[in-house]
């Protein structure tokens, strides 16, 4: 499942989003019903990958333990979900529950069109309540708009360092890097071949159509893209120094190819042409089936302490659903300790709660992703112009410095554009 690599909005999704926003008439809800005291809820998600059974397991368990609420989860490709959901929700004909997109920023358009239900009345620490206090703080913040909570995390992923054990052994490196300095040294050492055209790259970095990797490199040494006032931090001293280091490593030392899309970066690692990649838990299955002797370790620690990137898929309730109480009950159970523990075990994803630290330690791969949760950050969380900052500014900016542009001046330019988009006045 490579959903998280798809930041670019597909044509269809974009057009349908427009469609939804244009349509404002509300009709009856045709998708849910109740018979003989049993309430049926429909749920639409985009989990078409190998992790689908994990979600279905969770839903089945809910149905088994709640005989009077029966949830049916249907799965369609993300592009299709993004295409049909806006129109069907805006017209009140959609599923009761849905994950609108793999991009957490997508919730803004649904809130703007008044298509989704605020969850606050159901929030609390009781047995049948949504325990949002246990969500990772960044997730809770991202799903809270105007003081109201609108979504719960349908899943939670963090990025870790994938490495090829055979290549490490061949280079005489016994353990994966734990610090940024080790990472840089190993990446250089594992880059083999003619200057400018290595036959093996130290690390596989992507800069477009991908889950972002470069923010992690910035965060490691205290840089960022935005500060807490929504002003650009991409040209701060820490950002510029981190980006200078890494862009030099790419441009001069060729530790990674330039200009890869997410899928290209995965292919590079899967085809044994790169020794490391920063990626999420969904990538493991594909790499294993490609025959990689795979190791997974924490993202190395830089001067700013441990950090990695988190991604989460929002799960929301349709505003016009006939059964809001039952839908909330489902969300409360879905994010409960029992359910999240179970989900983490079957899926290999970290749980979407911060209070389950040690109970998922069974599978070492799961624990790597779960252990990263406390220090994982969302990319451009809670920004209504996130996709614009990403596609119009950040992606081209990284592409420029990878190709040798001066970091300081490119960062100053990017900062100016970002401030214009966020409305920050202090430039």
């Amino acid at each position: 499942m490579l959903f998280a690599h798809r930041r670019a909005v597909p044509v269809a999704a974009a057009i349908a989003a427009i469609a939804a926003l244009l349509l404002t008439t509300a009709c009856g809800n045709g998708s849910s019903g109740s018979s003989g005291g049993v309430v049926h809820l429909s749920m639409l998600t985009g989990f078409t990958g190998p992790d689908e059974p994990s979600y279905q397991t969770l839903v089945k368990e809910f149905n088994d333990t709640h005989p009077d609420i029966q949830v049916t989860m249907t799965v369609e490709p993300w592009a299709t979900v993004g295409q049909k959901l806006p129109a069907s929700w805006a017209t009140g004909q959609g599923p009761d529950l849905a994950t609108p997109s793999s991009d957490p920023g997508s919730i803004f358009s649904y809130i703007k069109t008044n298509s989704v239900l605020p969850l606050d009345p159901a929030v609390g620490s009781g047995a049948d309540q949504i325990d949002s206090a246990a969500f990772p703080p960044s997730v809770k913040a991202a799903f809270t708009v105007g003081g109201k909570l609108y979504a719960v995390p349908a899943n939670m992923a963090t990025l870790a360092l994938y490495y090829n054990k055979d290549m490490f052994a061949a280079a005489g490196i016994s353990t994966p890097p734990t610090t940024e300095d080790d990472l840089i040294a190993d990446a250089k050492k594992l880059t083999i071949g003619a200057a400018g055209k290595p036959s093996q790259y130290g690390i596989s970095l992507a800069d477009n159509n991908t889950i972002q990797m470069w923010p992690v490199l910035q965060w490691m040494s205290g840089g960022d893209i935005l500060d807490s006032n929504n002003c650009a931090a991409v040209n701060s001293a820490a950002s510029v120094s981190a980006l200078t280091t890494w862009s030099q490593l790419v441009a001069k030392d060729h530790i990674s190819p330039v200009g890869q899309a997410g899928a290209d970066a995965d292919t590079l690692f899967a085809s044994k042409k790169a020794a490391m990649e920063i990626n999420g838990p969904w990538a493991a299955a594909g790499f294993k089936s490609a025959g990689i002797n795979l190791g997974i370790a924490q993202v190395p620690v830089g001067s700013a302490g441990p950090v990695t990137l988190a991604s989460t898929v929002p799960l929301m309730i349709e505003r016009t659903t006939k059964h809001p109480a039952q839908a909330k009950t489902f969300l409360a159970w879905y994010t409960s300790k029992t359910a999240q523990e179970k989900f983490s075990q079957v899926s290999g994803f970290p749980p979407a709660r911060t209070d389950l630290g040690n109970s998922t330690a069974g599978d070492p791969a799961v624990s790597v992703f779960a252990q990263a949760l406390p220090h994982a950050k969302l990319y451009l969380a809670g920004q209504s112009v996130a996709s614009q900052i990403d596609s119009d500014v950040y992606v081209p900016f990284i592409q420029k410095i990878e190709r040798g542009a001066g970091v300081q001046s490119a960062a100053d330019d990017a900062a100016k554009q970002i401030n214009k988009l966020t409305g920050c006045k202090q430039n």
Binding site: L2, F3, H5, R6, P10, V11, A12, I15, A16, I18, A19, L22, L23, T48, E76, P77, W78, A79, T80, Q83, K84, A87, S88, G262, A263, D266, T267, A270, S271, K272, G286, S289, A290, G291
Partner: protein, 306 residues
């Protein structure tokens, strides 16, 4: 190749090289020229043959990758054909898409729109080529101008119109806005203009009205042009990707290529699924093309003549 040699011989014969003296020198020059021409011709055939291969190899490779496992592909991308076969890609496509429905939709859409288009375009082309009316030139220019409008310019207003008509997610919404095309009118007008005027005069003497003239005389005489247009339009609509996505937001109303493109665009590094999707969306037209090759080529060829 023999004609070329003859031609060059003739040319040399007609204008003998000035420097060449005596028959021996001339013969050598002729032989050298012949050899050069032959070498040039051989080279051009090599280039053109390689070019021809370059047209087909991408599709062969697509087919191969659709059935290859990832390790097989990574191990040797240079090979065209799988060593380790897998049906994983095809299965991924088939499992996720309602195939029968999609094929039905595509035929209803492409077939229905093309037939209506043939009717409307030929009517307009008939009026433009065989009748006289005020504003004739203005109408023709207007129609040609619409050929120049990028789809993206009009898509949002068109979407709103379809919504107000209640035509979203319906066959009429898919078909009717596509039931005329400037290119079709243009091509049919050219074809009708090339039919002799005597046909009109003869039928008018028999008392035939415009409708009879159009239906009984002009259309039957323009069958090749109509067939060409049918093929060109059917293929274009079959391949249309954006339009079905705009009109439908229900996967059960979508067309095969639109659904497959959506599918392919999110398959990421699942190469087999990606290429299987592409191959399946291409297959119906490719099979039709191979079976009806002559008509395809003739159809396109006709569009440029006259």
């Amino acid at each position: 190749m023999s004609t070329e040699t003859v031609t060059s011989l003739r040319a040399t014969g007609a204008r003998p090289p000035r420097r060449a003296r005596g028959t021996g020198g001339r013969a050598t020059a002729v032989r050298a020229a012949g050899a050069a021409t032959r070498a040039g011709a051989a080279l051009s055939w090599v280039v053109i043959g390689v070019g021809g291969l370059a047209m087909l190899v991408p599709f062969l490779w697509m087919l191969g990758v659709a059935f290859r496992t990832s390790p097989d592909l990574y191990a040797d991308p240079a090979r065209l054909w799988p060593v380790h076969w897998t049906l994983h890609g095809v299965r991924a496509v088939v499992d996720q898409l309602p195939f029968g429905q999609l094929i039905l939709n595509t035929f209803v859409f492409a077939g229905g729109a093309t037939l209506l288009l043939l009717l409307f375009d030929s009517m307009t082309a008939f009026a433009l080529s065989r009748l006289r009316f005020r504003g004739q030139n203005a109408v023709f220019v207007l129609i040609l101008a619409t050929l120049m409008v990028p789809f993206q310019v009009t898509v949002v207003p068109v979407f709103l119109t379809l919504f107000h008509l209640g035509w979203l997610n319906s066959y009429q919404g898919l078909i009717i806005p596509r039931a005329t095309s400037a290119l079709g009118i243009f091509l049919l007008r050219q074809a009708f203009l090339s039919l002799p005027r005597e046909l009109d005069d003869a039928s008018r003497i028999d008392g035939a009205g415009n409708l009879t003239l159009y239906w009984r005389i002009i259309l039957p005489n323009a069958k090749p042009a109509l067939a060409s247009l049918f093929i060109i339009q059917f293929a274009a609509l079959w391949n249309d990707f954006l339009w079905p996505l705009v009109v439908t937001n229900d996967v059960h109303m979508q067309t095969l290529p639109a659904a497959l493109t959506l599918f392919s665009s999110q398959s990421g590094v699942d190469h087999a699924a990606l290429m299987a999707g592409a191959a399946i969306s291409l297959a119906p037209l490719a099979i039709a093309f191979i079976a009806l090759q002559r008509y395809f080529v003739q159809g396109v060829a006709n569009s440029g003549i006259k």
